[in-house]
Symmetry: C2
Subunit: 299 residues, 2 copies
């Protein structure tokens, strides 16, 4: 099986994006938001904030944002006895996106460059993220992402890589975004394994969410064995790690996958919107940028 | 001395605005911002964040945002051995505002309603607030506040009150904003006592800042004996409390004065921009609104 990387690599040799202090206030905001979605009383909300601060204080300084998020959202779920605070939001996002499918598929079919259009649609879907904000404008985002230049444009390398491989490992991000991933997977026209989370975390897609978005029609759906945001390989199942190691091309959606895999040596292409200023800075782009980042640009 | 309130009142009977949980993430952001302004190293910044979370955990649930802010900024000053992290920002804000003085004075002189124009200018100056954001657009804000309708308009009551009193107690907010206060004080044309903080807290005005803005030309400058944001009467000096009790009209600038005095029965007029969503909600207005709120609208 050909690989997009010619040098010997160790895809499990992972160092993560540096943890930024600016994430601390953001996690407090996120904990409060999750508590409210889970139906917590004001007293419960306050206790969740206090426990979140205790959790943040107890974590080692090198803990990554996805590790912090994993602990905080576990805490919210336990406090509120609600296993999936974002369940309703995920279902709504999926239904909203599904309504767009016929128009998006037609747009790709008629495009001068169907792959580029499909990539842009998949990146536009990345706006559906309740980790970074409380709401999003899907139509406006689609319009913007379909038109604006890529801030990092490794689409030519992705196109070349796709021509050389006979399958793709696709790391999903959020429910609803899944629908736009489906548009890209259809355009890729290669066997795709679509990787979701093993359990609810924020509005990240699980098997249930992927099936509801119709991903079963275009890909094999597997989970990574973890309920942390992004891909924390040491939290993932042996089966997923084997797939990750053997993959000749991996498409990774969203900020959390970038946070957890940005310095991996695996043949990764990150497709994302730089929604928060911290990740934008790490990528060297402005917030709101559209990014296709392949292996060549990484160190 | 006439009073704008005819009923017997106890101006020291103070209950404060309810503390909102949304303030916790905001304070963490503010602590980090202050730490960086104070020149803290990354390790110091992290330690300040950890100690801020400890401080927030240890405060009683009824602690008001200004009480929280007082503790947090004291902590930053101690950690960094920097008694005034916002000193440079305050000086710059004052100089920037002073450059506008001739034009603003002329604008008031030529106005159909000089008092209204001066009130709007004083409220526009309230955008100079490093507690709620890292930067501000002074020119654009002036333009907006000079034109947009008041979301709460007790200007007629303020005008009437001014006609009836022979002096005004004026509770200042931020350095730089002081310059715009000077424009209003000149338009009021009554003896004014201008009240600043007793020591540095965020970019709130101290005696030094008030003098640099030329307030000495138009008012008697006193301090309230406290270095908390807003006006926490139990932290203030006996001298200030006496002035507060005896005042027949008090103009209070900015969000923190509203947070600390919103349910006071004193003859208060709050002049402010609702810069954060939490205070806007408390006021029943949208964020970004311009507010002149007198005693009649309060309970």
């Amino acid at each position: 099986m050909p690989s997009v990387e010619q040098t010997a690599i160790d895809p499990l040799k992972i160092a993560q994006m540096k943890t930024y202090l600016d994430c601390y206030p953001c996690f407090l905001r996120q904990a409060l938001s999750a508590a409210r979605r889970a139906g917590a009383s004001t007293d419960q909300q306050r206790q969740i904030l206090l426990d979140t601060m205790q959790e943040l204080r107890s974590l080692p300084s090198e803990a990554t944002p996805p590790v912090m998020a994993e602990g905080i959202h576990r805490l919210v779920r336990a406090h509120t006895s609600n296993p999936d605070p974002y369940r309703e939001a995920k279902q709504e996002a999926t239904q909203q996106a599904l309504a767009l499918i016929p128009g998006l598929m037609e747009r790709v079919q008629k495009a001068v460059d169907p792959l580029e259009t499909a990539v842009r649609i998949a990146i536009a879907g990345n706006i559906i993220d309740y980790g970074v904000a409380e709401s999003y404008e899907l139509d406006a985002t689609l319009q913007r992402v379909l038109e604006q230049p890529f801030a990092i444009d490794d689409l030519p390398a992705l196109r070349e890589a796709l021509d050389r491989v006979d399958s793709v490992l696709y790391l999903a991000d959020n429910a609803g975004e899944t629908v736009m991933d489906r548009v890209l997977i259809k355009a890729i026209d290669r066997p795709v394994t679509y990787v979701v989370k093993n359990g609810p975390i924020i509005n990240d897609a699980t098997r249930e969410d992927a099936h509801a978005a119709g991903l079963g029609e275009v890909a094999e759906i597997v989970d990574n064995g973890s309920d942390a945001p992004g891909t924390l390989l040491d939290r993932c199942s042996a089966d997923f790690r084997r797939r990750f190691e053997q993959a000749s091309l991996i498409i990774a959606k969203g900020q959390a996958n970038y946070e957890t895999l940005s310095v991996s040596e695996a043949p990764l292409f990150f497709l994302l919107q730089a929604k928060c200023a911290i990740i934008a800075r790490d990528l060297g782009v402005t917030a709101g940028s559209t990014v296709v980042k392949g292996p060549s640009g990484r160190t």
